[in-house]
């Protein structure tokens, strides 16, 4: 693993992986869209709006995943002075911001027909909005200084400190009385559907038995497109991440070359 800690080794590996990632991205996305938009059932209560879930949930997961990447990269930069960590963080930030915006916008469009409102200040929505501000803040801070190198540290500190928002997003739906639903993928320990389950068991024992046997909150016909779209978004992050990492890498190299060449400073 330490071989890839060397920035140029890492860049070479990343550049080599890129065409394969694009090759994988195409069929995964085509299949994901096919199942999301066409070959999956409408929801009993939410009708066709449930198809928004296949974009909303992956973008939410990935927005948080990208933030974690950004925070880990920043932490390795702050603790071990590893330059690659900072480059990865800077490369990821705009991607995370876009995922966050997609999540908020699609959530809003899903909320209107299902909850009757485009927005509500509940815990999960508010903490996701805050995540968007954290991404914006990171980008602004990293670019705020005349000497670009000076922006690295404050931005990295912001990224690391902001990581507390991730568990808040994750657990907000359990701690607070929220409008947003609880678990999509797992019927886990924290899920507070016990009251509903008890009622179901009392009145419709056959359905309750099926629900109890289910490990997940979603039936397989809906789980498949969801997993495909999560994979698709993940590949988008990797592909755009490598592309943006190249940009950051070249930017650093440009700065070095300009510092040492008098002609270059005119560019």
């Amino acid at each position: 693993m330490h071989r890839f800690a060397n920035p140029s080794q890492f860049m070479r590996a990343a550049n080599a992986a890129l065409p394969w990632l694009v090759l994988l991205f195409v069929p995964v996305t085509v299949a994901g869209l096919y199942f999301s938009l066409y070959a999956s059932p409408a929801d009993y209560q939410q009708s066709e709006t449930v198809r928004i879930m296949y974009i909303h949930v992956p973008s939410a997961f990935l927005a948080q995943g990208v933030y974690l990447t950004m925070a880990l990269g920043s932490a390795s930069f702050l603790i071990w002075k590893h330059p690659l960590g900072d480059l990865i963080a800077r490369a990821s930030a705009p991607i995370g911001l876009v995922f966050c915006i997609i999540c908020l916008a699609t959530g809003s469009l899903w909320g209107k027909p299902t909850w009757g409102t485009y927005w509500v200040w509940d815990a999960r929505l508010t903490s996701m909005l805050f995540l968007a501000f954290l991404f914006l803040g990171y980008i602004a801070l990293a670019n705020a200084f005349d000497d670009p190198a000076r922006g690295h540290k404050p931005a990295a500190i912001l990224a690391v400190v902001g990581i507390v928002n991730i568990p808040i997003i994750k657990f907000s739906v359990y701690f607070f009385n929220t409008l947003h639903q609880q678990s999509t993928l797992f019927d886990d320990l924290f899920s507070d559907d016990r009251a509903r389950d008890a009622l179901l068991a009392e009145n419709q024992p056959e359905i309750a038995a099926v629900a109890a046997a289910q490990e997940t909150a979603l039936p397989p016909e809906m789980m498949l497109p969801l997993l495909l779209m999560i994979a698709s978004f993940g590949l988008v992050f990797l592909i755009l991440g490598i592309l943006r990492l190249r940009i950051e890498w070249m930017t650093v190299r440009l700065r070095v070359l300009r510092a040492y060449s008098p002609e270059g400073r005119d560019i």
């Binding site: 709006t49 198809r51 997609i102 699609t106 469009l109 070249m250 440009l254 560019i267």
Partner: protein
Amino acid sequence: MFETFDAFLGMAGYGFFVWTSYAICFGSLSALCGISLMTARQRKRELDYLEQLRGQRREPSSDHGGPS
């Protein structure tokens, strides 16, 4: 499954919400991709130019004979 293409577009009356969501997703990711590709191309051009300048400055010294 949808019976007609119009039904597919209509999404049981929720067409606006569903299609706008997919459009925002596709549009914003395409924009990010386009901007990133353009920026990468620009940086590559600048980098090639500066490295070529460095290469040109090095050449005169190789005329002095001996290892370059």
